[in-house]
């Protein structure tokens, strides 16, 4: 992490970064492959026969179960299924979902932006709250302010997301009617923006439909707040701990003795150095949120990937679960890589190793 970078080879600094990124991506391939095979096997080891579950129509007998089994390719020996699955993956085919009746890739492509938009908003919201709270707590350790922050964080992490979600809906939608009805990304009667990026806020902004943008943002506030509350604790606590460590270090003492202004010391010198661990934890929090926001997605009818995967899992629908795990693994690799690159920005001594 903090090793000294080797002398820059041909292509300059950015060429080197690019090459390292390439190497990192390549080295992720075995890990992804492992995840792929593991999920494949795990799904088949789990009890519960998807064919029986899906052939549940009135009068469906063994013949119908066999049809579904054949449709899902489960009538073939396991090793053949695996080889076929891997071959399909190389061609970008993730199989079909029985739950929605669509190709898994179509479903994921349609749903991933919803999950990402929610997670990004929640993370931004959480960071915008956690950083000031953490800093304030670190500046006044042991005082009432510190205790209040600690209390808030504990509260956020203690209340399960589905409880806080339902509570927010009850108060802001049912009682006060401030929030729009909690059913997905956009009011059902509203016109959807043209599909450009899949992120509604971005798409609305691109076509300059500000009313639509406000509506989409309105739908986003409650679920994003629910998730932000839940991840407030790790972020705020990490900021506080890290700030405390930095504020007690020699260079801050030096800066103080040189008579630099209070805010300059905190924001420019202390915070920048304290951000490194916060950045790491943000990456982890982001990846976790993306997969773990299933309850929030359920409560707010958010058409995201996590609730999609849960439905599939409950129905023992193999392809969507496998597709979801693969997607998550890929995102995890990407996020880690991005965090490492950001490291270099926050701390030039660190490099993309």
């Amino acid at each position: 992490m903090s090793e000294i970078a080797a002398p820059a080879p041909r292509g300059g600094k950015w060429g080197a970064v690019g090459r390292r990124v390439g190497v990192r991506l390549l080295s992720a391939v075995p890990a992804l492959f492992g995840v792929l095979v593991f999920t494949f096997l795990l799904m088949r080891v789990l009890p519960g026969d998807p064919a029986v579950f899906f052939a549940a129509g009135a009068n469906a007998g063994q013949a119908e179960i066999d049809i579904v089994r054949e449709q899902m390719g489960l009538d073939r020996p396991m090793h053949e299924q695996l080889v076929r699955y891997l071959w399909d993956i190389t061609r970008g085919n993730l199989g079909n979902s029985m739950t929605t009746g669509q190709p898994v890739r179509t479903d994921l492509v349609e749903r991933l932006p919803a999950s990402l938009e929610l997670t990004f908003s929640a993370l931004l919201l959480a960071l915008s709250l956690a950083l000031p709270l953490g800093i304030v707590a670190a500046l006044r350790p042991g005082t009432l302010v510190d205790h209040v922050v600690r209390f808030l964080c504990t509260l956020g992490v203690c209340v399960p997301t589905f409880v806080s979600g339902l509570l927010l809906i009850y108060v802001f939608y049912y009682l006060l009617a401030w929030a729009p009805d909690p059913t997905g990304r956009l009011d059902i009667f509203a016109a959807t923006p043209p599909e450009i990026t899949g992120f509604l806020l971005v798409d609305f902004a691109l076509v300059r439909d500000w009313e639509g943008w406000r509506a989409a943002a309105g739908q986003l506030i409650l679920p994003a707040s629910t998730m932000a509350l839940f991840v407030l604790a790790p972020l705020a606590r990490m900021t506080r701990a890290s700030m405390l460590a930095v504020l007690g270090s020699d260079f801050v003492r030096t800066a103080k003795s040189l008579g630099l202004s209070h805010w300059r010391i905190i924001v420019v010198y202390a915070l920048r150095n304290a951000l490194l661990p916060v950045l790491t934890i943000s990456g982890i929090v982001f990846s976790t949120m993306l997969g773990a926001n299933v309850l929030v997605e359920k409560v707010f009818s958010w058409p995201g990937v996590a609730s999609y995967a849960l439905d599939a899992l409950l129905a023992s629908d193999y392809a969507p679960v496998q597709g979801f795990v693969l997607l998550m693994a890929t995102i995890f690799v990407m996020v880690n890589l991005l965090i490492d690159i950001l490291y270099g920005v926050a701390d030039p001594r660190a490099s993309v190793a």
């Binding site: 579950f53 469906a60 579904v68 029985m98 009667f189 300059r208 439909d209 639509g212």
Partner: protein
């Protein structure tokens, strides 16, 4: 993109309808003429016969596709329920039945068209019927319950006339033309998308419709929402009250309840009994509660597995269950009890399901258990699926407590639905509970489906020679008195043998805006939007 968002929809709708209403007027109209239906399930196929289709898909298809015939509806108290004894033509304007009951002649409605405007032909109907008995779908096994098994049974008898012949006068041949699977398809359109691997276009029809029913699919996003637009050229029945229907998936049940109560949604049918009770009490919505006349909740014992292979053990269990308490705990008594009848050997009529002479009597249960050779009781596992745990868990806890009093130790096991279904289909569950619904609520069909043959829906793996013989005969019995007698006899056997315990018929509860009227309970337990209107 400067238009108001609500007007956006109106504009889109207006364009689609080929009308140019002033935007303001249109938007006011649109909400009142739109039915927003929220459900916990998803429509995963537009063709209900595709293997894996959800119940929601069945319901949607009734609105999108016509069938040759349809069941009528009748009043039950203040509510509407389907009437399987009254069958009317839907795509057929007239249905003739030959005197020997073996030939049905369907006369296609004059001027009937598909959604694309082309006329419905006898060839279309023949192709659709052939598909229902030939495709690798859910339809053939259902059709076979009405002795409809081969394309040879359908014949084009003239322009707009199709004949259906059955070998014996099956009581349910015509009823099977009314079920969700018996869709009539625009064959010209469908054949264009058929392939050699998929001659019946199952894959294409899963995501597309080739229909002529009361509603046209405007947008279909599986797992999220489906939007329907009224087909103003539809002549299969009275014109539906809503111009537009939005079917939206809202997974969280509390949210669905909130949406309807706040007036943002117009209809939901799959709410928790506890929520429905609270909603009814607050009175801001209309609650329609109808006993599911063709359904039941059962407590099944595996009749091929010790100790439940002993009739005395089954009778002991039946005498030990605290029916009234279970009914209260599971459903807040919102349903029709199928226990506590006061007849002993012969039922008063041939209706089925009907209340059975089941009473809680622990003394009698202990005695039966002694006679069965289990004076010290035994241990068993009672399985429930997660999908029904809301009502099954409290019920199971009461059962466990009561059975412990006669020394039967019950272990309650909760399984994910897929796992539960697998155990059920492989008949490895000794003792479990679930619900069942028969599309065609004729007593002999009930018995044939749920109490004969080694197949999945024979929940208790029951095998009784007399019932087997009776169901085989009753299917073709044309004499009403003899049919009645056969059905009564089957109910008698059921009461004596208790292969499983029929506990109750849950209520079908629909919660809707107070100005929505006409809700009807249909055999496939879904809303039929064609019945509804705003008053």
């Amino acid at each position: 993109m400067e238009f108001n968002r609500r007007q956006g929809l109106a504009a889109a709708g207006g364009l689609a309808m080929g009308a140019t209403l002033p935007a303001g007027e249109a938007s006011a109209q649109t909400r009142a003429e739109t039915l927003r239906y929220v459900t916990g399930n998803t429509v995963n196929s537009l063709d209900p016969s595709v293997p894996g289709s959800t119940r929601e898909s069945f319901g949607l298809s009734m609105n999108v596709y016509d069938r040759l015939a349809a069941f009528g509806r009748k009043r039950l108290g203040d509510n509407w329920v389907f009437d399987h004894n009254e069958i009317r033509g839907e795509l057929a304007e007239r249905i003739d039945r030959s005197p020997d009951g073996r030939t049905f002649t369907f006369h296609i409605r004059q001027g009937a068209t598909w959604h694309d405007g082309t006329p419905v032909t006898a060839e279309d109907v023949k192709w659709s019927l052939d598909r229902a008995v030939s495709a690798r779908s859910l339809a053939p096994p259902q059709m076979s319950t009405g002795s409809i098994t081969s394309p040879d049974q359908f014949r084009i008898a003239g322009p707009r006339v199709v004949e259906m012949m059955v070998e014996r006068p099956d009581r349910l041949a015509l009823s099977n033309m009314c079920v969700p699977y018996a869709i009539m398809i625009n064959s010209t359109l469908a054949k264009r998308h058929a392939t050699t691997d998929d001659p019946w276009a199952l894959n294409w029809l899963k995501d597309n419709s080739a229909a002529g029913g009361a509603y046209i699919v405007e947008q279909h996003r599986p797992g999220t929402q489906t939007i329907l637009r009224r087909n103003d050229n539809w002549r299969g029945g009275e014109q539906p009250g809503f111009r537009r229907v939005i079917v939206q998936t809202v997974p969280e049940v509390a949210t669905r309840a909130n949406l309807v109560e706040r007036g943002d949604a117009d209809l939901s049918i799959d709410l928790q009994p506890s929520d429905v009770a609270a909603l009814a009490q607050r009175g801001r919505v209309k609650v329609v509660s109808v006993p599911q006349t063709n359904g039941f909740t059962h407590i099944s014992m595996n009749n091929t597995m010790a100790p439940f292979d002993d009739v005395k053990v089954r009778q002991a269990i039946a005498a030990a269950l605290p029916y009234q308490d279970m009914f209260q705990a599971a459903l807040f008594s919102r349903g029709r009890a199928l226990f506590g009848a006061d007849w002993t050997t012969t039922p008063p009529n041939s209706d089925f399901p009907q209340p059975m002479p089941l009473h809680t009597n622990l003394e009698r249960a202990r005695e039966l258990l002694r006679e069965s050779g289990h004076p010290n009781g035994f241990s068993t596992t009672f399985t429930i699926g997660t999908g029904v745990s809301a009502w099954a868990e409290p019920m199971a806890a009461l059962m466990k407590e009561s059975l412990a009093r006669i020394n039967i130790n019950v272990d309650i096991r909760k399984l994910p639905d897929a796992q539960f279904n697998t155990g059920q289909a492989e008949r490895t569950l000794p003792f479990y509970t679930e619900g069942g619904t028969a599309w065609l609520p004729a007593p002999d069909y009930f018995f044939r489906l749920y109490f004969t043959r080694p197949q999945r829906w024979n929940f208790a793996s029951f095998n009784n020679e007399e019932i087997n013989a009776l169901t085989r005969e009753a299917q073709f019995e044309t004499d009403a008195a003899r049919y009645d007698a056969a059905c009564k006899r089957m109910i008698e056997i059921l009461a004596a043998e208790v292969p499983l315990i029929l506990a109750w018929q849950p209520l079908h509860e629909a919660v809707m805006a107070r100005n929505v009227d006409g809700y009807t309970y249909w055999f496939y337990r879904q809303a039929d939007f064609r019945d509804l209107k705003r008053v």
